[in-house]
């Protein structure tokens, strides 16, 4: 989609009838995200247990860490036995694994994918490059700190992290969710303006709605 596709214009139906469209308003629902208020006691605990035991990962290899995802899916490390599986679409996933450095171009796609995921959603960031830039700390095209653009639940260090480290990271994420601390999406909703300001500072040609889901 190019920028012109997002401008207001008139299109014609197959019958030749003119239709006025404003893509940014007509195609997207851009309500602000809302933070989720936990229910009481046992019900929330049960829900958290259920969330923690079926982590569905979005299959989006954003960086070089994606190469360790396939060993994780296959017999040697077999993450499926921990209830972790990979899904092709954001609508079905609850965990976004940011596998390494993010260039500005990818960050744009990552934000869109993240916002399309349903609550509750968690972000696991791999590698030193998501923490402080890692190897690419002085590169003009990679972001240095992921937590300025998306709320991160668990960081897994290393360059690149081994599959064992990833499994340990997922265990840590489970613990946090069970303890009711997996509230990245709430943080995103509460500090929405701050996150958006940071994102817009580095994505120069912002041509998407503010929140799309």
């Amino acid at each position: 989609m190019s920028k012109e596709d997002l401008e207001k214009r008139t299109v014609y139906s197959p019958e030749g009838e003119p239709i006025e469209i404003d893509p940014l308003n007509d195609y997207f629902l851009d309500l602000r995200p809302e933070s989720y208020a936990p229910r009481n006691g046992v019900i929330e605990q049960f829900a958290n247990w259920a969330r923690a035991e079926s982590l569905w990962v979005l299959g989006f290899g954003t960086g070089c860490g994606a190469i360790e995802m396939r060993p994780l899916m296959t017999p040697r490390f077999d993450a499926y036995r921990f209830g972790i599986q990979w899904r092709p679409t954001p609508r079905q996933s609850s965990v976004f694994v940011i596998s390494g450095y993010l260039s500005v171009k990818t960050l744009k796609r990552v934000i869109r994918s993240y916002e399309q995921m349903q609550n509750p959603k968690f972000v696991v960031a791999l590698g030193s490059c998501t923490i402080n830039g890692g190897m690419y700390w002085d590169s003009y095209n990679t972001i240095n700190r992921l937590d300025h653009y998306l709320p991160v639940d668990v960081y897994i260090t290393g360059c690149m992290p081994r599959p064992e480290a990833l499994l340990a990271g997922f265990e840590e994420l489970k613990k946090r969710i069970k303890a009711g601390k997996g509230d990245g999406a709430n943080k995103y909703a509460d500090n929405f303006d701050w996150y958006k300001a940071n994102q817009k500072k580095i994505i120069k040609d912002w041509d998407m709605p503010d929140y799309n889901w």
Partner: protein, 396 residues
């Protein structure tokens, strides 16, 4: 127009006529076409890149490749790092085969600095490069089978790849990024008992590859979808800069290991694997036989490789290492074809310019955009994987 474009239609007069250069005029407002993005967040894409497809029914009419999602600006970063500081970052250029980056960068540096590396280091480098080819092919087989719906092949070959990575870990200490090849030589000798464990790994791989051959290559679904699909014409080879197995499947025996022999390849006995039909099936078969050739070459290397000896030539203090001014190009044959580094030095401690020539650069952009026309949308993933592209080496 009452005809519905649901799938391949025999009557080609309904489709827009192609201009002499193969492109067509697409009028999106006619509501016949559908524009979709294949990637970057898509399970059927090789890595982080995307295709902007224009469809008529389920047939691709036009395609634009979009890359740049993995751009880190290596060539810029290297300009402000000393030669020795570049070594940790060069291996990150092409993730699945980091050793080729290390080798090409090291050999270009050594050539400019006039350093001759010891025999044992040459053998060890040859071994590491051949192992890198092996593991990259093993991952590719799983990807190709997965693109045509055979998940089990990937489970087998990735298990085999993990075994190769274990050998890498023994030899170099790293699983994915090894940083084993350093200027002047390599970092270590073979560990004790490495030969036996390597031999066992190779035997397991051969056993699994027999199964892969019967399950994948004799499978009627795979054959039906891949034979005659995605043909590369032999005259495109030089026109589009096609290298490696993609060219060899068209019958052109283009292999840097033979054409411009480096390291110890002249002492090894092999012939480049070629095919004739140049479709997806032939390319897959060429790669499978190339994989088995790698197994054979590793066996040959294991016989000839010395157990002891000098592994590192003397280099000046690397923190004050000034490389004499000059320019050179060093190349090696990775699984996708010719991988090369063009290096320019201006006599200072920092490289003036390093340019990475990744083989996917030509395959994934100009060639893919040409080949994908009139392909069914369901076969796009299979076609892309059959070209064996890795996005990180396109944009660096």
């Amino acid at each position: 127009m009452s005809k519905k474009f649901f799938s391949w239609n025999e009557d080609r007069s309904l489709y827009p006529p192609a201009k002499p250069d193969g492109t067509i005029d697409i009028d999106l407002s006619s509501h016949k076409y559908l524009k979709i993005w294949h990637g970057p967040q898509h399970p059927g894409i090789t890595g982080n890149m995307s295709l902007e497809l224009t469809l008529l029914g389920d047939e691709v009419m036009a395609c634009e490749t979009h890359v740049g999602y993995l751009h880190r600006g290596f060539e810029k970063l290297m300009e402000r790092r000393k030669y020795i500081q570049c070594f940790p970052i060069v291996c990150r250029v092409a993730v699945p085969e980091p050793d080729f980056n290390e080798y090409c960068f090291a050999s270009a540096t050594e050539e400019l600095a006039g350093i001759e590396i010891p025999e044992a280091a040459k053998w060890l480098r040859t071994l590491v490069l051949e192992m890198a080819r092996l593991q990259s092919y093993l991952m590719w087989v799983g990807g190709q089978a997965g693109a045509f719906g055979q998940g089990i092949i990937g489970q087998w070959t990735l298990y085999c790849r993990d075994l190769v990575l274990d050998r890498f870990e023994e030899l170099t200490g790293g699983r994915i990024y090894h940083m084993y090849i350093i200027p002047g030589g390599v970092r270590g000798l073979l560990p004790d008992g490495f030969r036996e464990r390597m031999e066992e790994t190779l035997r397991i791989i051969e056993r699994f590859m027999k199964d892969v051959h019967s399950v994948m290559f004799n499978n009627s679904v795979f054959k039906k979808r891949s034979v005659g699909m995605g043909v590369i014409e032999p005259e495109w080879i030089n026109r589009f800069g096609i290298v490696g197995p993609n060219a060899r499947a068209a019958g052109v025996p283009m292999d840097v290991r033979k054409d411009d022999p480096y390291l110890k390849y002249p002492e090894l006995d092999f012939e480049p694997v070629t095919g004739t039909d140049s479709d997806i099936y032939t390319r897959a078969d060429v790669r499978r036989r190339d994989l088995l050739l790698s197994v054979d070459l590793i066996r040959q290397i294991m016989v000839k490789i010395p157990d002891s000896g000098e592994i590192r030539a003397k280099t000046p203090n690397v923190l004050h290492w000034k490389i004499p001014a000059g320019e050179t190009y060093s190349r090696a044959e990775c699984t996708r074809g010719e991988f090369g580094y063009y290096m320019v030095s201006d006599g200072s401690e920092y490289p003036r310019r390093v340019n990475v020539r990744g083989p996917s650069y030509t395959h994934a952009v100009s060639l893919l955009e040409k080949m994908i026309i009139n392909v069914n949308i369901a076969d796009v993933a299979g076609l892309m994987v059959s070209l064996h592209t890795y996005p990180p080496e396109i944009e660096r």
